[in-house]
């Protein structure tokens, strides 16, 4: 019985961490159609921002939930103004430009922080479920991811800013005619997307050993999740992260970690073969 609870917790954690690492990308890709290959590096910078802040004596939760998103969001803002805004609507060019950016950020982080592994320890102790010890931090990640999904839904559906953003994505010309500058809206959206990437990197920082090239480990999973999710932002993210997270963890637990990774990729290939428009291209159509 305890074992099932533990496996369930691990599955929820797998889903939650996929949601977390994909949210920033989903916003940038899903809303403004920019393929941000530097997404992993934004996460990496979020991690470094957290570790630096903690080493300077800031409370770890303040560092993760506030400092890292703001810092990375601001970096994203600079990047958007200097590079991305010239490339809206040019999908392939954004890939090339952001790939260059990712190399640049890896080089920059190497110069500033050096090429050695750094990290901080997890702020929440482990605890027991029956005979099993689990990582208490898993629950924190699950809670943050759930709140994140709710917040995204609330902002996009419930607020005027969300309405303007959605409108601009659909018909920038009409939004402009109604007096909203699409340029401004894109900028704000990219800021939010970058900040979420930073948040994800920050929250995962205590679980990993961080090196400047850490971002590469996340980028593939994040893209698979977002592409398989399809056009609906929140529903797609939830559906595909739920599916892949469960598949990955079940196979990891039942067979081995290698098979877990393989199963995730096979599931992605099969899913995209059956549903080339992504999950929400067929189901939950028109939802957010």
């Amino acid at each position: 019985m305890d074992l099932y609870v533990v496996v369930l917790v691990e599955m929820l954690y797998g889903v939650a961490s996929l949601i977390l690492i994909s949210a920033g990308l989903a916003i940038v890709f899903g809303m403004i159609k920019v393929i941000n290959l530097a997404h992993g590096e934004f996460m990496m910078m979020g991690g470094y921002a957290t570790i630096t802040a903690v080493n300077l004596g800031v409370n770890v939760f303040v560092a993760m939930l506030l400092i890292a998103p703001v810092v990375v969001g601001l970096i994203g803002l600079v990047v958007e103004r200097l590079v991305i805004r010239h490339l809206y609507g040019r999908l392939i060019d954004t890939m090339l430009a952001t790939w260059g950016l990712s190399l640049f950020f890896i080089g920059l982080a190497t110069m500033v922080f050096g090429n050695t592994t750094t990290g901080i320890s997890t702020p929440i102790p482990g605890f027991a479920i029956g005979d099993y010890q689990v990582n208490g931090y898993n629950f924190f990640i699950i809670v943050v991811s759930a709140l994140l999904l709710v917040a995204m839904l609330a902002v996009l559906k419930g607020t005027r800013a969300g309405l303007v953003a959605r409108g601009t994505m659909q018909r920038p010309d009409m939004a402009a005619a109604l007096g909203y500058s699409p340029d401004r809206v894109y900028m704000a959206t990219f800021f939010c997307g970058s900040a979420l990437s930073g948040l994800a990197g920050a929250i995962l920082a205590p679980l990993v050993g961080l090196v400047p090239t850490s971002g590469g480990a996340y980028i593939a999973k994040a893209f698979i999740t977002v592409i398989a999710g399809g056009p609906s932002l929140v529903a797609g993210l939830f559906a595909s992260a739920g599916f892949f997270g469960a598949v990955n963890q079940i196979f990891t637990f039942a067979i081995s970690p290698v098979i877990g990774e393989v199963a995730l990729l096979v599931a992605a290939v099969v899913l995209l073969r059956i549903l080339p428009q992504g999950v929400t291209g067929t189901f939950f159509k028109g939802r957010l």
Partner: protein
């Protein structure tokens, strides 16, 4: 006289080659030591201290009067953590710079990229890194520990402190696979049982389900030959789940690149390891070495296992040149094959004539407050894994990396 392009080129070439002559003659006045290491890119945490150690060794040799009355000159190339550059710079070192010896290579892939070039051009080659074992080639000398040397010492100690059932978590490439096999063998030899083996691709950084799985099996001991930054997460997540005080942990890789300094004391304390070197090794040789390092570089905290291996490699070569009284490759190999030994910071290093590997002291240690506390020293361990497959005395023409079957 009309000067057309062809006559101009040929006369220019003649002038150029004439001007080369005195340089070629002068070259005999210094000995060229080629070094090929990743001092930038993702492996620079390994390569930079190795480069520093090599330069320190050469400086010491030169200050003491050089070799055979000549100064040693370093010709170093940075391979930027790019395996393709190894073959390029390997060619350059041997054919253009015509160095007398090459020290270097970090990953096994980089060693294999240049080993045949060294052999073909008859350039003596030293590979100074702990690795998976099995290379059998008369032209190469290797002085890092091999899995059997480490595991043979580590397993009985770790099992003695914990119990008989062992769970193995290993990196999923040749080093991890081979090391896992050796661990299984020594666990069985010591009357224990391997209750589980899991392999992890190098970019896996989430070990949650594995930690749960280990608990369902309930071993007495976990041995983790995990490699790299992503795998460091395991040690962190293991501690975060509160497992550290429940099941003891041993590793054959933790700390090679000073990873133990990244973990907090709460995360790292008590992990059992076995290496040739530790900064905490309290011997006169090591204390003097650390002082000389600090005098040259200001701070000795960068020293790690393979930097010391590289230092010992250069010193072994220098001693062989001294004994041979010549730079001739055959003479130096003959001197090395006498079973020559030197005293390095990590203890005595003896060349094993049969395999061209090293007989080394192995220290069993526990990680304690971001240092490695030495518990027991096992002097002069033989590279028994490579010895089982390789005999260069009987087959001097052997040129293979054996996959050692156990």
């Amino acid at each position: 006289m009309s000067l057309n392009r062809r006559t101009f080129l040929s006369s220019a070439a003649a002038v150029a080659s004439a001007s080369m002559l005195p340089r070629a003659a002068m070259a005999a006045d210094s000995i060229k030591l080629g070094s090929i290491l990743d001092t930038s890119g993702i492996f620079d945490a390994y390569g930079t201290p190795m480069d520093m150690a090599m330069r320190l060794a050469v400086n010491e040799i030169n200050t003491a009067g050089g070799l055979l009355g000549m100064q040693v000159e370093v010709v170093a190339y940075d391979t930027q953590s790019d395996m393709a550059l190894y073959s390029q710079y390997g060619q350059q070192l041997t054919r253009q710079d015509e160095v007398d010896v090459v020290h270097g290579g970090i990953l096994s892939a980089s060693r294999e990229a240049i080993r045949q070039t060294m052999r073909k051009t008859r350039t003596l080659y030293f590979y100074n890194v702990l690795y998976e074992g099995g290379v059998c080639d008369r032209n190469i000398f290797i002085n890092g520990v091999t899995p059997a040397q480490q595991v043979e010492a580590l397993v009985p100690y770790a099992m003695g402190k914990s119990g008989k059932s062992v769970y193995i978590l290993a990196a999923d490439y040749n080093y991890g696979q081979i090391t896992a096999r050796w661990i299984q063998k020594f666990v069985a030899d010591n009357g224990g049982e391997t209750v589980g083996v899991d392999f992890f691709p190098l970019d896996v950084s989430d070990f949650g389900s594995t930690i749960a799985k280990i608990q369902t099996v309930g071993p007495d001991l976990v041995i983790a030959p995990l490699v790299g930054g992503a795998h460091l997460s395991f040690f962190r997540q293991w501690a975060a789940a509160g497992m550290k005080d429940r099941i003891p942990l041993a590793s054959t890789t933790m700390g090679v690149g000073n990873e133990h300094k990244v973990l907090t004391p709460e995360e790292g304390n008590g992990i059992m390891v076995a290496y040739n070197y530790s900064q905490e090794l309290d011997t006169p040789a090591n204390n003097a070495f650390k002082e000389r390092w600090s005098a040259s570089y200001g701070d000795s905290s960068l020293i790690h296992e393979i930097a010391v291996s590289n230092y010992q490699g250069v010193m072994t070569w220098a001693e062989a040149v001294r004994q041979a009284g010549s730079l001739d490759r055959e003479a130096v190999i003959a001197a090395l094959e006498t079973g020559l030994s030197i005293g390095g910071p990590a203890g005595t290093v003896t060349v094993d004539p049969k395999t061209h590997h090293a007989v080394l002291d192995v220290h069993i240690m526990e990680i304690e407050d971001q240092g490695m506390r030495v518990i027991e020293t096992l002097p002069q361990r033989q590279p028994i894994d490579t010895q089982a497959v390789c005999d260069l005395q009987a087959n001097p023409d052997d040129n293979t990396q054996y996959e050692i079957q156990i």
